[in-house]
Symmetry: C3
């Protein structure tokens, strides 16, 4: 683990920068977010897709931008103000500038009686309408009267914007990371994903990798569908493993959502790493999916991807409200997620299949391998070395051998490197 | 569920009609039973197989008929009387008309010391003998003296009789139902089987089915062996799934006995339906078998059949005694069995394998599918619809998808029909 | 079970004869041990392999012999004396004859502070050195002063010696038993292995077997490697199942260590027999291996072998010390191990795959098979017979059928023989 890169504080600080931006499926909030990510990832390519472009069963929607929005009472006070929290406006609201009674206004208000101090997050991407969101406490204070209602937005043909980074490795086979950039000011279920992905990408950029890395920052659902529709054959041909990165900023638990059939390299690596890192991590089923694995793992697309998360979307009370804010996530949460994802990427890089080159056990003593390998617990190390040789039958990979030995594959990697260098193992996996 | 057909009262009434008849492997009791079933099932074909006909390792036995049987004491009173309960005579008793001491008589009497108020059911199909059965209480009352013993039976070359109904469907692949009609007056372990089978057949006759249905009413063991020996190739070629219908009249539990290897469509459907209908149903092993699955699932015959039961033969104390009477079974017991069997047959009919026609998720909103599908719990319904599309990879059938989603396949059927009609799914299973 | 051969007392007496000999990887202790085994097994072939012979990654080491060894104090008393216990000398010690201070001597002493009354067993096969082992209690009594140190050993080119017995059977396929003969005076983890193996061999010699038996007595590790390197192709071609016989003399538990992948006939038979003989037997993983299965099951050798043990090496406190002595093992321990191994070998001989010759159930009555088979519990026996016929589909072997029936395969063997003789079963397995 290179500690230089695992700086929870730095990630948290970057999250704080991204948090205030009013993102949506399209528009300048997405562009500004990608620009800021690009300051960390110089090679990031920004792609603009015109409204109306067909992608499978869908079309790219019109572009939405917003400058201001408020509701003023008869006294002229802004009693709901987009500028104090961008969740106050229903995302994709069409422009409006009018006056109405409280009764009329109520039909356009959204609040949560069960969470009276939370502003809900509401969208209306595919039906033109407008609305405001506020805490239920504030809503109950509204008095009958006339209200001025303004949403200074545009909803017109434009573009959908996404970002893409490609890091070539020794092999053309790819590790694919996807995260989304389409929610306004929310922390765990928005900024944590692009922030962690940015820092993972920085780490991979800093070294030579076996795999190539394809890393995309897309608006959820329609962005993933656009990306797949433009790159389907290449993705199906090249992607060896991938993860949907979301909800990685809080520090309450780890969780894993597997691919539809399970058992892909992404699934095997993630469940192995998590079971050793945090044995009580929460195991979800693909039936619990809810982010872009819905597209990436759909029948006929079938990318071998899972999703490593902390508190999963939909499973924590602050989800999709103003309570999913910077207090919910932490430097420690980021550091833990970075650590787990990095272990997974390292294990994907190093999880080879080996075959012992000698029949029967080799004579370790004459090669001086016992002292060379001697660590704190020499007996345990000798046992681990012996197990690696005994299970290296050309079919077991390091995860298989680690599981058979009851240890973490991470511990086997340096031993495998030593035995390979000593001519006692040969590689049987090829990428 | 068509309630018109699920009339527990009607089934119980029909059972009451069949109960008094003295059935055996062969003879007029079988014929009368089949005649009464035929009043419900006009297409029922009655088949007569001559005594002596070879079938695999067996031969059809001589035909047995009985008019009267009794034991009279010295005072001329009928102290054991076939006319009060046909269980009093050992089934297949040869004719006898003689007089003897109590001591001699005892060698021909059967009773149950552990169940002193029950008349046991005893047969001697393949060894010529005669005997009487009585409660142990009555037996203890017998006093020394001379007894007149009369069994007015015939045991001569004749025929074995069975009934068969064939309902052609869209496909030549068949669902096979078998039940037996060879026990005298017993309720759960005799009349419940042909009664339920009759009412299931009536229901299938009333509609167009995908599968063809082959429904047989045979004497147990030898009847099944005869039927198999005459139709082996057709059965092996056509039967897609089947059930042995027995012990379906009481209301104490549900149980399932699988095919030898398990995993056939009959097994998958029955265990799925039962686990949702009555999650504590009793799971037996094929090693616990005891009815005609012994023949249908024997090596080389290997029909894909199981047996859905209520209280299984051999597992309840009244089994094979006069206590297995009309009080043991109930309209509720029949209605429950009818319900479960009907769910299984419906699921066999509808358990298709589908593939999603669009890559990535389709846009449900523009098709108006969300409101169209809106039921009481719209969110759950959207999730179920989404799961169906996400798992419809051309390999998972509705049971697989239901299991992955943690719901009953029954719930998926109307949704699959809607999605298929909307052009979002295509069928990949063919029959 | 032939009680004539299961004489725990006889085995214990033979163990007592072998116990005092000072064995090592090579030398006259091995030869004397093999000579004594040969008195029981007239066909035993003794093989001498010259020092330096290459075998895979190894070479046969020089031959070690020892006549005497001691440490004398200034008063001329033998305070450490090889003649009282051969564990006192580090195995493979080079010759030495000198005098030194206690401080110098300490560098050559080995004791166990945690087991102060045990002499440890120490070897230095592949690094020339010398040393003495003693109890920690004795070591603490040593006083400063001059000590005379003598090891009257030779370590020179010579031979490695092993024994081999081949018992031809009807088939050329072999059951392979291997045990080791290279430790000085230890009981469970040394003499129990060759003693039990000798008595198993005597039993197999006394009758005609289906399988051929190959039984080897080799020094651990290097002896197994030598044997494999000389017979690799024949072993891979002929061995159907095998066991590494070690730690079979105590009476504390049973345990099983499977082959690397498991599921070989040796594994299936051993786990079936043990689960019925001693259902709480300890299940080890191949990762816990430590004896010659390390070579026999190594990648590319892959013999289908496991190891049935009582208290496994490394898992009991007396292991590799002078406490692993004749008090630790017992006639009862030997008798139990002999019983289990014999059941396994019998089951290997008899675990055929059968197919029922008649479609549907055969008519048992006309063959008089019900009474013929009648044992104490006739109903259970009829059920067992019926299950055997019902599962005899040409693919299930007796273990499969026993597992499906919830009984021991041992019970099925005589029934299978009867049914085969009656023409109701045919064999589908061929060896």
């Amino acid at each position: 683990m290179n500690h230089e890169f695992n700086n929870g504080q730095e990630m948290y600080a970057f999250a704080r920068e991204l948090f205030p931006i009013c993102r949506s499926l399209t528009g300048d909030g997405v562009r500004e977010t990608l620009r800021m990510i690009g300051t960390h990832l110089p090679g990031l390519k920004i792609v603009e897709v015109p409204s109306g472009e067909a992608c499978f069963d869908w079309n790219v929607p019109p572009e939405w931008n917003i400058r201001d929005a408020y509701v003023k009472d008869a006294a002229g006070r802004r009693i709901i103000d987009f500028k104090t929290n961008n969740l106050h406006v229903v995302n994709y609201s069409e422009p409006v500038r009018t006056e109405m009674s409280l009764e009329e206004l109520q039909a356009h208000l959204h609040s949560l009686p069960d969470q009276p101090n939370a502003i809900p997050y509401v969208t209306s991407y595919y039906r033109r309408t407008w609305g405001f969101c506020l805490t239920h406490e504030e809503r109950l204070k509204l008095k009958p009267g006339r209200y001025e209602v303004v949403i200074d937005s545009t909803l017109e043909p434009g573009h959908l914007t996404y970002g893409e980074l490609y890091l070539p490795g020794t092999s053309k086979r790819e590790i694919f990371l996807s995260t989304y950039i389409c929610h306004p000011s929310m922390a765990n279920n928005e900024v944590s994903g692009p922030v962690l992905t940015t820092f993972l990408a920085k780490r991979m950029m800093s070294k030579q990798n076996k795999f190539s890395y394809r890393i995309v920052f897309v608006p959820e659902t329609i962005g993933a569908i656009v990306y797949i529709s433009r790159h389907l054959n290449a993705l199906k041909k090249n992607v060896y493993a991938g993860y949907q990165v979301t909800c990685v900023g809080d520090d309450r638990c780890y969780s894993y959502l597997p691919s539809r059939k399970g058992g892909t390299p992404a699934d095997r690596v993630a469940t192995h790493v998590l079971s050793h890192h945090s044995s009580d991590y929460k195991r979800y089923s693909f039936a619990d999916r809810g982010s872009d694995e819905r597209q990436y793992c759909s029948p006929g697309v079938d990318l071998p991807m899972g999703s490593i998360m902390r508190s999963k979307y939909g499973e924590y009370s602050e989800y999709h409200t103003s309570l999913d804010n910077m207090d919910l996530i932490s430097p420690e949460g980021f550091a833990g997620s970075f650590n787990v994802y990095t272990k997974c990427l390292e294990l994907l890089e190093k999880n080879q299949t080996y075959r012992a080159k000698f029949l029967c056990e080799p004579q370790m003593g004459k090669r001086g391998l016992r002292p060379t390998l001697g660590l704190k617990n020499a007996a345990q190390n000798i046992r681990t070395t012996s197990n690696l040789l005994a299970y290296a039958d050309g079919q077991n990979d390091l995860i298989d051998i680690a599981n058979a030995s009851g240890i973490s594959a991470e511990e086997l990697i340096p031993i495998a490197d030593t035995l390979f260098a000593a001519g006692l193992l040969e590689l049987t996996s090829h990428l």
